[in-house]
């Protein structure tokens, strides 16, 4: 057998066996990975919406809305969706729950972020604040998004649409506010265009 034939034969066999092994393994692990993703999604939706029994999905162009409902009540209790945008260093993904008229935020939960550890990461967890480590996210509870979310520095927020910035992470704080303002409007237009 010439070397060329042998090379082709050995590499083909190796890649075929590897491919077979991987497709079997994928079939085995995929349902588990998918189930975990769904479980996390449900948990996040539950956290940002008022108590609800079920949710309907409305698929928009770049976003899926989860409309939370209570059994027996025709009106939704709130609408949740994933808002994605740019933070200080990279993508920030936030699960947002809003009131059905899109005027106020019910609550938010930051799903993904790669902000500066120790500064920007305080948008999720602030170990220096002993009373309330997630004080930043908690500021968004019942926050008005009209006309937009404003960020104030070094003082207590006085208006219903204001939040306080994290010291040392103003850009991260502003990014979260901007992502929310922008994406709430996107979600609103999707919701209205679907004739609801």
């Amino acid at each position: 057998m010439s070397t060329t034939t042998k090379m082709i034969l050995v590499l083909t066999t190796l890649t075929m066996i590897s491919g077979g092994l991987l497709s079997y393994w994928d079939g085995f692990t995929r349902p588990k990975i998918e189930a975990y993703r769904l479980q996390e999604l449900k948990k996040a939706i539950k956290e940002v919406l008022p108590p609800n029994d079920s949710y309907d999905e409305i698929k928009g162009k770049d976003m899926t809305l989860y409309v939370g409902k209570k059994s027996g009540e025709p009106k939704p209790v709130g609408i949740a969706f994933e808002a994605v945008g740019n933070g200080f260093q990279g993508k920030v993904a936030i699960m947002v729950g809003v009131t059905p008229d899109f005027s106020h935020i019910n609550a938010i939960k930051i799903l993904e972020q790669i902000e500066t550890p120790g500064l920007g990461t305080k948008i999720v967890d602030d170990p220096t604040n002993k009373q309330d480590r997630s004080w930043f996210s908690n500021q968004f509870k019942n926050l008005s998004v009209e006309p937009q979310i404003e960020v104030v520095k070094n003082m207590k927020p006085s208006k219903p649409n204001e939040i306080q910035a994290i010291t040392g992470a103003t850009i991260s704080s502003r990014s979260v506010a901007k992502i929310l303002t922008d994406q709430v409007n996107v979600a609103k237009s999707i919701y209205q265009s679907k004739g609801q």
Binding site: T3, V10, L11, S18, L21, L22, W25, D26, P117
Partner: protein
């Protein structure tokens, strides 16, 4: 065989100190620096790498005589990549939190030079049995360094060990230790200590 046949036990032990992949050969530094911000991450990375290294070594050494010399690196990479994907999917399915923490560093085991290095330097020339011993020793050496570095950085940087608080409220976490500079400092001190110990041993 040009290489002198070492004793069976030495094939395992050499990976722990004399030829420790991280401290002596300075291989696999990328995962060593990147994922040792906590003990559990270091351990998980060490175990994932161990799985890939041992399985790849067994496969490569058992087919070493039929792989043509010209395509040996490609063949190694195919085998390694397959096992890395298996490990990556396994972590994502059964340990999703660890998988999320390690992020892209699990798929990046493919290019870990310890693994390709051991295939080229050892498995391609030795029996399955000896390759198994060699890869086990190397893996153990790798795990030990990652675990030790992860523990030191977690204690100093977060005041915890495996997520359990070990240092009380009086301790102000040294945040830098879980950031990249802490990795470089920690590893630098580890390597300096290893060199110092070796120099002392050589003199004695």
């Amino acid at each position: 065989m040009a290489r002198k046949q070492a004793s069976v036990s030495y094939e395992v032990i050499k990976g722990l100190w004399d030829e420790n992949p991280v401290l002596r050969s300075l291989l696999g530094l990328c995962p060593t620096l990147a994922v040792t911000n906590s003990a559990i991450n270091g351990l998980a990375m060490g175990l994932a790498t161990t799985f890939v290294l041992i399985t790849s070594s067994i496969i490569i050494s058992s087919v070493r005589n039929i792989i043509p010399n010209q395509v040996r690196i490609s063949s190694f990479i195919v085998v390694i990549a397959a096992f890395v994907t298996v490990a990556d999917r396994f972590l994502a399915a059964f340990y999703p939190l660890i998988s999320k923490d390690l992020g892209p560093y699990v798929p990046l085991i493919v290019v870990n030079c310890i693994i390709l290095g051991r295939q080229e330097a050892f498995s391609a020339k030795n029996s399955v049995f000896r390759s198994l011993l060699d890869s086990s020793g190397m893996s153990l050496g790798f795990i030990l360094v990652l675990l030790a570095l992860g523990m030191v950085r977690e204690i100093l940087g977060s005041g915890t060990l495996f997520g359990i608080t070990v240092l009380g409220d009086w301790f102000d976490p040294w945040m830098m230790m879980i950031l990249p500079p802490g990795a470089f400092l920690g590893l630098g001190i580890f390597i300096a200590l290893a060199n110092w110990l070796n120099a002392r041993r050589a003199k004695a």
